[in-house]
């Protein structure tokens, strides 16, 4: 199977690789997938005033398409509001990266990672307000 140029470009030069402090109340962390399934994504967002995503970071264990999907997602997230970010659809990633059908699950995993990061951030904020 040949990879699209965009997948290769992202996999070779992944954007926003890294780790944010998961204990920071302004950081939301999503960890999805499983090693036994061959892909694990950890995607983190840092949310500033007004609910705008200031920074996004990822680390991914997976094939080139999984790495490219999470790299693209972090790029896309920066500057978005949480509500905008929550609306990210995997099909956006599929279209942008020209993923073949067998790789669609990579984009689904990236969508799940974004949603998990937002949920984690919101849970932290709720806990803070509640306390």
């Amino acid at each position: 199977m040949a990879y699209s140029e965009k997948v290769i470009e992202h996999a070779e030069n992944p954007r926003n690789v890294g780790t944010l402090d998961k204990d920071d109340p302004n950081v939301g962390t999503g960890l999805v997938g499983a090693p036994a399934c061959g892909d694990v994504m950890r995607l983190q967002i840092k949310v500033g005033d007004g609910g705008v995503i200031e920074d996004a970071r990822f680390k991914t264990f997976g094939c080139g398409s999984a790495i490219a999907s999470s790299s693209l997602a972090t790029e896309w997230l920066k500057g978005k509001t949480l509500d905008e970010a929550a609306g990210l659809k995997n099909t956006t990633i599929v279209d942008e990266l020209n993923l073949p059908p067998v790789k669609i699950h990579c984009s689904v995993l990236a969508e799940d990672a974004v949603k998990a990061a937002i949920a984690d951030y919101r849970a932290k904020q709720a806990a803070k307000t509640g306390a």
């Binding site: 996999a11 790495i67 995993l109």
Partner: protein, 407 residues
């Protein structure tokens, strides 16, 4: 010598045709194009003579006492089908039990599964952690109605070489026929049909620097004389065991490839083993958490199958895309399941996803070995920096204790 890209390190999948083989084949396309079955003119005689020479060369490579024991086929898949189904059909009144292993190629496993639907019983021997058959388990698997044992000489993924001589003695002592899929091992590790008491052997030309689309099944003619029911009906070629016009140029090439291996195989294996070890040590001395799959000692000289923990195999293949290798990762298979061979060894799914098979062969150079070793080390390090699992491992997190959200 300068490197040429892409670098081929996938010699288990296929091999290039040796130029000496091609040269010998060429006249048989346009000049000596006769049908080997044409008994009444010079074109046919010439073709038949060439096929007989090839048959003798193939017989010699495996230690067969007569070229009449070589049945030419389209490749090892057909040979495996013919051996197992042919024996099952002929001896079904004697017994309906077959023994094989979980490591076999699909051409053997799926053939056995089909026979199960026809009322045969098949024992699939588990293998040990090192990928070898436990002879005590084989011993225990024999039944009074066992008619055939089919165990591969060497595995295509992990390169493990089975103790064929011991297996052969056990089968012979019980009067059970022994078939081996010797595709990967032939000409690379010692093999002899008489010394190992093997009755049926599948081989193919394209794994030994011959052309694709031609293979052979060795069928023992005496002590014991093996009988088969043919699986292809037609003109009664190959003494009735395999009908179909012979692929004369392919067979000529197969014969030449066999002759080269008979003469040069031992020296070639020594050289390739040295390169394999050079590659293995260069990689494993620089990378932690890297595991060899399968026995180191009982192994094909050109095979190196490594799992790089925390890195996914297809991702690694993509980052070394100038090097042709293979992976046990699910992502490289149509089924999205990781390698059944690695799973059979008890390799965890995560490490099965992280495996890469390097296959070295006749045209592998030391420069290529050094380049690939350096590239792999560099890319694994890069991908580990990208891997949340590696970060967790470095932070002391036990990955097995994490509640993963499987998808």
């Amino acid at each position: 010598m300068s490197l040429k890209f892409p670098i081929f390190m996938d010699y288990h999948s296929t091999t290039p045709v040796d130029p000496r083989v091609l040269e010998e084949m060429l006249p048989y396309f346009t000049q000596h194009f006769g049908n080997a079955a044409s008994r009444n003119h010079a074109f046919g005689w010439h073709a038949e003579e060439a096929v007989d020479v090839a048959r003798e060369r193939i017989a010699k490579l495996i230690g067969a006492s007569s070229e009449k024991e070589i049945v030419l086929t389209s490749g090892a898949t057909e040979s495996n089908n013919l051996a197992i189904k042919g024996v099952a059909d002929f001896y079904r009144d004697k017994g309906r039990h077959i023994i094989t292993t979980v490591l076999e190629h699909k051409a053997v496993l799926d053939t056995c599964k089909r026979l199960e639907k026809e009322g045969f019983e098949v024992t699939y021997l588990q293998v040990e952690r090192d990928g070898l058959v436990d002879l005590a388990k084989l011993e225990a698997a024999f039944r009074p109605d066992t008619i055939l044992v089919s165990i591969m000489l060497a595995n295509n993924e992990i390169g493990t070489v089975q103790p064929m001589a011991e297996i052969g003695r056990m089968c012979r002592a019980r009067g059970v026929l022994l078939h081996t899929d010797a595709v990967q091992g032939i000409g690379k590790v010692p093999f002899h049909v008489d010394e190992m008491c093997v009755d049926l052997v599948s081989i193919t030309a394209h794994k030994m620097y011959g052309p694709k689309g031609v293979g052979a099944l060795y069928v023992r003619r005496s002590k014991p004389r093996v009988r088969l029911v043919s699986q292809m009906d037609g003109g009664g070629h190959e003494r009735g065991m395999r009908s179909g016009t012979l692929n004369v140029p392919g067979i000529v090439g197969f014969g030449k490839a066999a002759q080269i291996l008979t003469e040069e195989g031992a020296a070639e294996s020594a050289r390739i083993l040295a390169q394999r070890e050079r590659l293995r040590l260069a990689i494993t001395s620089k990378l932690e958490e890297t595991y060899l799959n399968g026995s180191l000692e009982h192994r094909l000289p050109g095979n190196l199958n490594l799992s790089f923990a925390f890195v996914e195999g297809e991702g690694l293949m993509m980052s070394i895309k100038d090097v042709a290798v293979s992976s046990g990762s699910a992502c490289t298979s149509a089924s999205l399941e990781p390698s059944y061979v690695l799973r059979a060894l008890g390799v965890g799914e995560e490490l099965a996803h992280s495996s890469i098979r390097f296959g070295l062969g006749r045209f592998t150079t030391d420069e290529e070995v050094d380049y690939v070793a350096e590239l792999v080390v560099k890319k694994v390090e890069k991908l580990r920096e990208l891997s949340p699992l590696y970060e967790m491992f470095k932070d002391g997190v036990d990955l097995k204790s994490v509640q993963w959200v499987a998808h």
